[in-house]
Symmetry: D2
Subunit: 332 residues, 4 copies
């Protein structure tokens, strides 16, 4: 940490809170279609987890007038690491203060990223202990594979929109200590369209993408992990059979080499079912950058992404600035 | 048919009836674990189907004191084909006569194979029409993919034990018109251990395997199709999580190149989850034969099959003649 | 055959001849990228096969000024079946006469389909016998899996353009005896856009698609089989790494439920790498038809097909009648 | 690092050196069958890499009279981390001193683990830069996917035998700073059969397994990563077609949930082709332990591991102490 050594105080993405104007349908989507488990039902929210999440809850669904992202929680690697990050956040002037912690948690420290997304950081947490009837045959698996719907294993990452990607990217690097993995930069290096970062060997746990419509605190997508590419293909079948709109059918990203699909949960938020990608073990990884020409060919295998992929985010804020959206395809 | 042309009067395996001494648990296995659908519940039996079976029912579960196979039904390609096969069966002295047909069927003609297994042949049949809430998004799929448990697509094939494999094999070839695809023959061509046959381009829809214990009318296994090798691996996870004994974990057969696993349903019958294999389009296919040495290496990738695979069948009849079972591995 | 019984005289698609203006690059594509084997090199053509093709050759590559399809060969199920089909073809006035047979063949009878595609039918054929160093560890596999490039297993099917789909479809049904499996029909049943047919349990071995540009004897695509959906995904990686244009990246068809990708071989012909789909065993299969609305949603998972998929065929004949191409998406 | 915070100074497993008495055949195995690339050929050794390895070389093949493992190299996360680990190793009395570094490396510090395996630690390293003709279409992939043989992506982990697992495990934890992930412990907690550890989120990068035959410095296996379970199945086909003995055909481990197969490379060393498993992000992961009964069921899906899996290691040292090998199955 001293002498220019990298900060490694964040253990992983912990929980994402999603707002839904159709909470019952959203619950059906996450529980019956994606195959997640309901961990806890409170008055103000429902908490869910994937069968492979070791935490008690990784997704919080909160009823709201509009879709979007609520609090994004990060777990620290130790109590000391938590203190170090809180000090850094406060020094950056973005701190909000300590809270008692959400369901299954000890205290957490809340803050905003520069774009205004609410975040928190915590260390103390309850581990999930499966009830007898959902215990796995595998001692190293938090619970039985449910074999219901898609069967997503765990929360993987999220992508946030930001008016100024560089400001938010630098905050994530300098204050939170994330490593920069890949970037899309247009206009001969002048326009940062997107940056992918991670606190771990996972390729990315967060991305900041440019908000072309000038919103604030908006969400591009939340992503859940499945183990195989066949699971993604099977997910496409299951989502189709359940009448859920697939915005992007299974395809391979250039960036991260992830293999995934995107759908909208009934509340309106974009959800990815994701696998593949690669781990980054190199301590001196050099961020990979892509320009207009390199992204102009589409996803890795050449299928185009729909316009909505650039334009739609939650909450939706209309089409005011769409003329500024680049005509060149910008394939994330 | 004349001039030495092959008989092609059987369209496909239609239904298999299984006896179960634990009907409720067997239903749980086929419905909740394998993911089949209940098509009809009668006083004396429950009828099920896979989501891809075009027929109203392909599996009949009948309560009984012991496990085993009941009636094996074959569909004819036309009314004329049905008549031709009935004439041939009667000429062979194995006919039992016409019946009114089982659930969803028109008349069928019942008979025994030389080993005493009950069979029937029919043409008239109701097609399955999915109720509105289980209609598929695909017009060419009989019903919605259920996304429950393993999700087997359809009935595929079955393997019967026989005291005299050659006699039963010749009956299937000459009287039913099946094509011989592969054989395991030991003792320098003198002992026919097993023969795999089919009325269609599918590699095999029936196999006769030697009953080393000298039983009669017994069942080795019934097999259900899934679309991918990943589905078989996923099935292994699901069966394990549900506490079901896997007699043979996922592996690739030499014979047929099928990729599959075997478990016992709670009633005691051996059930295969199967995919892969290859289609046989050659009209002049030369049956492939395997001797002791060629089978001594185990399954294609070398994993051994357990003793039970040779010894256990339903109904179980004790160990009287086990000393006659070849010491050399006989890998089906 | 009498009494309204179906004709079943064709065993399977035997060989497709492709014309290539860049024969060396085409050979590289089929041998090094798709992983096929060169079976025979003659002065006028090169013959290839997939590792799972039982015939000596299934693809004939012929140097030519323009890409396109040459002779499409069908194997009969017996010498008698061959005679019956020849009689029917002659009665239809489309016969060309007997030829001595191509490489690895006995005599064949040549004819045109109504749109002018050259075809032939044969029975006598040499089986492929692998040389010692390419013999498979599996007795039932014609040769060793090469583990080079994509590794396509065998020729699967082809799709031809026709000015009048109904005329050609009826020829295939009535004269060749193919079964009709699926159709795309627009304008309230008046415009037959495409028809998929098969002589076997394979969903389709030939399709006739409407030639919107009014050409004659043109080719839409030839398709090669791989065993798994993962093989198709891997093929997409391999084709991408070799700089080959993917016209359609891996996706699932509504029609046939096939999972596949399309690329152009360097000579210009569209080639599909294909798997999945389903077998049709029902002797009374009712053809599935799709109208504008049902196809307007794109491929099964919703990804759009590019314009070229409707407009480009080999040989290419310019854009004269493109205004007649339906504005509605027509997804094959 | 202070205040009880975990040591995180090792970035990942860097290189494994294997001894081979049949260097040409070993090269054929790693290059033509596994599909690795030759990075460098020196007088005394050949260096290889997988297409996804970012380092210049990850496998060093050294001709020798007997098979076994040579130097195991670990990369540090920073120059400071390197210094810290060297100090700790020297304090533990196991240091050998600095060397000039192997091919593609800066200086490295050599040491022995308590069981006598040679290891080294380094920071400075050349990154692999692909020559023009093997550059990938993906900017974030070190080189083109070769599409030759199995196509392993990268070095994953290794398993070493040790006379005293606890001593070596504590060395790895306390001196190298690895996290303990899983253990097999028999005799009511008294006999540590194996321990799996990692410096990263990867489940394990090293395992110590008990050397029942009392050897020293021996190797159980080296493992290479492929991306999908289908790749492992395909590897089984490729190894079988090449006449390579599969000691363990594709199966799923209880421990780590890895999906893999084991073969012997022609030099005699056991090589695993591996995928699946799960990442460990929890900073407070509690090691999972398995006793006799829990391992007595075999691999996760119940297939037995052969005796050789417990008894054979390289170099082989005969059967002197085999009577001490537990009769209970010990499934790794």
């Amino acid at each position: 940490m001293t002498d220019g050594e990298p900060i490694r105080d964040i253990a992983h993405l912990g929980t994402v809170e999603l707002f839904s104007p159709k909470i019952d349908r959203s619950l059906w989507y996450f529980r019956d279609v994606l195959g997640m488990e309901i961990a806890h039902t409170a008055e103000s929210a429902v908490y869910l987890r994937g069968y492979g999440d070791y935490a008690t809850a990784t997704l919080k669904l909160t009823p709201a007038a509009k879709p979007g992202v609520g609090c994004v929680a990060w777990r620290a690697v130790s109590p000391q690491a938590l203190e170090r990050r809180v000090a850094a956040i406060e020094a950056a002037g973005l701190g909000l203060g300590w809270s008692n912690g959400d369901f299954g948690r000890g205290v957490s420290y809340r803050f905003h990223d520069p774009d205004g997304h609410l975040m928190e950081i915590y260390y103390a947490e309850e581990k999930f202990v499966a009830p007898a009837d959902s215990r796995s045959a595998l001692k190293n698996q938090p619970q039985k594979y449910p074999a219901r719907g898609v069967g997503v294993r765990r929360l993987d990452h999220l992508a946030l929109l930001a008016n100024e990607v560089p400001t938010n990217r630098r905050f994530a690097q300098d204050v939170l200590g994330f490593q920069l993995r890949e970037q899309v930069i247009f206009d001969h290096g002048r326009t940062e369209i997107g940056s992918w970062m991670s606190p771990t060997a996972a390729h990315h746990e967060i991305a900041y993408l440019r908000d072309f419509r000038g919103g604030q605190g908006r969400l591009h997508h939340v992503s859940f992990w499945v183990d195989t590419r066949d699971d993604v293909l099977r997910a496409a079948d299951i989502l189709s059979e359940n009448g859920i709109f697939l915005e992007v059918s299974p395809s391979k990203h250039n960036n991260s080499q992830g293999f995934s699909l995107y759908s909208y949960e009934p509340g309106g938020n974009r959800i990815e079912v994701y696998t593949g990608s690669f781990l980054v073990f190199a301590p001196d990884w050099e961020p990979v950058t892509w320009n207009e020409e390199e992204r102009g060919t589409g996803t890795y295998w050449g299928s185009a992404l729909p316009d909505s992929f650039l334009k739609y985010a939650t909450p939706d804020i209309g089409t005011g600035k769409d003329t500024e959206i680049p005509q060149l395809p910008v394939f994330f």
